[in-house]
Symmetry: C2
Subunit: 479 residues, 2 copies
């Protein structure tokens, strides 16, 4: 048994080799596996159940915003991808094509669906009565990454949601760009216990074809940021390229305004990396498919009584929580402890002969490993408290790390130091694309995450080029 | 307004031109649209909400059977597709390939996922403790159909679920093949109100790579059958090809048994074709995203009172049903009646000044168009009755049509007549693949649907070749 336990465990420390640690956590917890084609992945049942919970949660949000789900084709004619010039340029390198052609035209696998959806919108939208049109789809997309693929974080195919809305006015459109970004932040914070930076992207990082892009960015324990969701104000760019028009109430032809927004299974990677530890996965209680595992300590001769009590407990707790009873006899309790620690189950309940005598159980929280004896009378209440506390506690730990990592600096040599320390520099920036290229180049890879706020004071200078700064911007390395 | 109504309506009759009628119902009701690449389709919000309801329903079934959802890659290496010889042959013609290659190997877009899943299973399954392994995925699949594509019924990309399970014993495996088929029948019957024929396929119609295939088949009003779901007993064929093995309790290496089963968005097409009429879609109440629409009859000067009553009604009914109030003033009640008939809303409630005086509303059922005055006191109960009755009634109508269409014949000239009449011939059959080819050829296109029962009496002869018959088989034309 001892051997088995060792080979199951994670063989490197999170602190020491984050990429290898991360990969082992994903694989050994049963979250994911590698697909047979390079850069592809399998989302195993544990990982997929988390995606389903995210979907459930966000589908409720979509309903509140009157966004309807639909499904558009995987296949996009090459001519569509070329219609919006910036968009075409932005995705050129990573588009995968099908061998078949249709009437001589190449066919792409969707890297994102603006083009195929807006072609349809141009036929569906005729009048102000048809607006706003708000559609979302859950689907797979393909981006043929050539290197550095990672489970959940970067793969040639991934699952996501993409919302695509059309409005009569610019104001309605902009308002919803930010509303959705707020919803993304809320989902990360409340469900996945991930704190994020939130704001507009700089020009360099703007989505190909949009007027501006907004983003939420999580900060990983290895000092690299991870983009977790984006919401784009497309203005009239795509409407013009795809000839989307409507007749207003005065029967005048108008061009509508559009936004698009999405998050992907990458969120799962962010969650794994943020909370997990050297024993394996740590799942936020609100998203854990199994919140509690009951492990009976089966002492010879007393198995029956203990199992009976454990089953009673399971039935009782099932009314309020998702609970699993592991009554297998072919594994020792110790083996099972490691197993459910690896799988990230938030609470473990141990029940043995002594506990029965004392009318209690032992409760162990996954994140802090604290063991508490709890009387059966107060168990239900105690579980609720511990699950709530764990959800809060892992968020606060991550929030503390994020806050602590942000260093406000306005001198270039300090900037360099902050980046070298794998932290986030909050610095004045001119906004220029070339200057941002230089910053990345000279700092060893720091890119802008998002704009914290505009700078009105013309005396404040850019951290790098020393021209007047327009924005206060978060910079860091990133995934 | 009159003009507008006409152009909105369906311009052909179901009886007279079924393909054109079907296409118009799908398009004009807002269920679907054509995609830009030939043979692809867009599932619009109305159609997709029906798919979501099917998913919800079947996810509950999966949970009951302990099947877990997961996600496997879209991309499959060519070598995988070739491993199981029959399977490779079966899908050869319709596989689409990506232009990119990986280490010189071609990459296919999944036409089905046996190969990519079972390669993973061969790594995951080590011991009897890992069995049964039961996984399902909801995903898109690609089959490059060259002709005769139809919305929902046949398209180059479609959505489906595919379940893939592995068992220690042949008995467990076979049992679940049939259990799932029963669940498919139940879903069709109880949710979609579609009656089906159910049974084993003949050898000719067996899934490429399986030991045998079972099927449910619906019968469309134009006299063509539509395969609505299949459940395959794969035996050990794929386990051998993909080297799936396990150690049993005695530490002996064993080869497990497998099944796979799936249904697709084609179900939605079957539902549309079965129930809809010349006014548009007819949706079974249990799956309709909107079960009731309230249309206020706004007479000048009395709008306020009527709208107030309509809103009260909406609030009241919302507790028990999915209900919509159409209070738009830019459309006439008549226009709205046609609109919601086209969209298949099961019940319409009309409320005008006279109704308010009488403390009643007018209820109109979509399937039979009957108008009933209902007192507000008994409205809730009456609605429940009418929705239940409509669900039953449209099923029974379809069941009656199916039963009436089955003709038991044992003479070839009768067989020909039945097929010519666009009905189903139930006939003795030898089971031979060549004989079945001949039957199709000589009858003008009748294929076997499924086996009703085995024939033990050696005196019974095959309908075509007159050799001893093995089975009593349903034959008809099909989609």
């Amino acid at each position: 048994m001892a051997n088995k336990k060792e080979e199951k465990g994670i063989t490197v420390k999170k602190e020491e080799d984050m990429p290898e640690w991360y990969s082992q956590v994903c694989l050994k917890s049963g979250m994911a596996d590698f697909g047979p084609v390079k850069g592809t992945m399998i989302i195993k049942p544990l990982g997929y159940s988390i995606w389903e919970k995210i979907q459930e949660n966000f589908n409720r949000t979509l309903k509140r915003h009157n966004v309807k789900n639909a499904y558009f084709p995987l296949f996009i004619p090459e001519s569509f991808l070329k219609k919006e010039a910036e968009h075409a340029k932005g995705f050129q390198a990573e588009v995968a094509w099908v061998e078949k052609k249709e009437e001589g035209e190449r066919i792409a696998l969707r890297p994102t669906s603006e083009t195929v959806m807006y072609d349809a919108y141009s036929k569906w939208i005729k009048s102000w009565r048809d607006l706003p049109l708000k559609i979302n789809q859950w689907c797979n997309v393909v981006r043929w990454e050539v290197s550095d693929t990672k489970l959940f974080l970067r793969s040639r195919e991934f699952l996501w949601q993409e919302g695509h809305c059309v409005y009569e006015t610019e104001k309605q459109c902009e308002k919803e760009v930010w509303n959705i970004l707020d919803e993304y932040e809320k989902l990360c914070k409340e469900l996945l216990a991930i704190p994020v930076l939130k704001g507009k992207k700089t020009e360099k990082e703007t989505f190909a074809g949009s007027v501006y892009t907004t983003t939420i960015e999580a900060f990983m324990p290895d000092g690299k940021a991870l983009q977790c969701g984006t919401s784009h104000n497309l203005g009239q760019n795509f409407a013009k390229a795809f000839n989307i028009k409507y007749l207003d109430k005065n029967e005048k032809t108008q061009i509508p305004f559009q936004n698009s927004w999405g998050f992907s299974t990458r969120l799962i990677g962010a969650m794994v990396m943020t909370h997990s530890d050297d024993k394996g996965l740590v799942l936020p209680p609100k998203i854990a498919p199994t919140q509690i595992v009951i492990i009976p300590i089966l002492i010879k001769g007393k198995e029956k009584g203990i199992l009976k009590k454990a089953k009673e407990l399971e039935t009782f707790l099932r009314n309020s929580y998702s609970v699993e009873l592991d009554e297998r006899t072919e594994y020792t309790p110790g083996w099972k402890f490691s197993e459910y620690e690896m799988k990230g189950v938030p609470l473990r309940i141990e029940i043995g002969p002594n506990d029965i005598k004392k009318n209690q159980v032992v409760l162990v929280r996954r994140d802090n490993n604290k063991k508490i004896g709890v009387n059966l009378e107060s168990l239900n209440k105690k579980i609720k408290t511990e699950l709530d506390n764990m959800q809060k506690s892992i968020y606060e730990k991550a929030k503390h790390f994020l806050d602590f990592s942000i260093k406000k600096v306005s001198e270039w040599n300090e900037f360099i130091k902050v980046i070298k320390n794998r932290q986030i520099a909050l610095s004045p920036f001119c906004g220029d694309v070339n200057c941002e290229d230089n910053i990345k180049d000279k700092s060893g890879g720091a890119g802008s995450r998002c704009i914290k706020e505009d700078i009105k004071d013309s005396k404040v200078k850019c951290i790098y080029c020393k021209k007047p700064a327009k924005y206060l911007v978060y910079f860091s390395k990133s995934y």
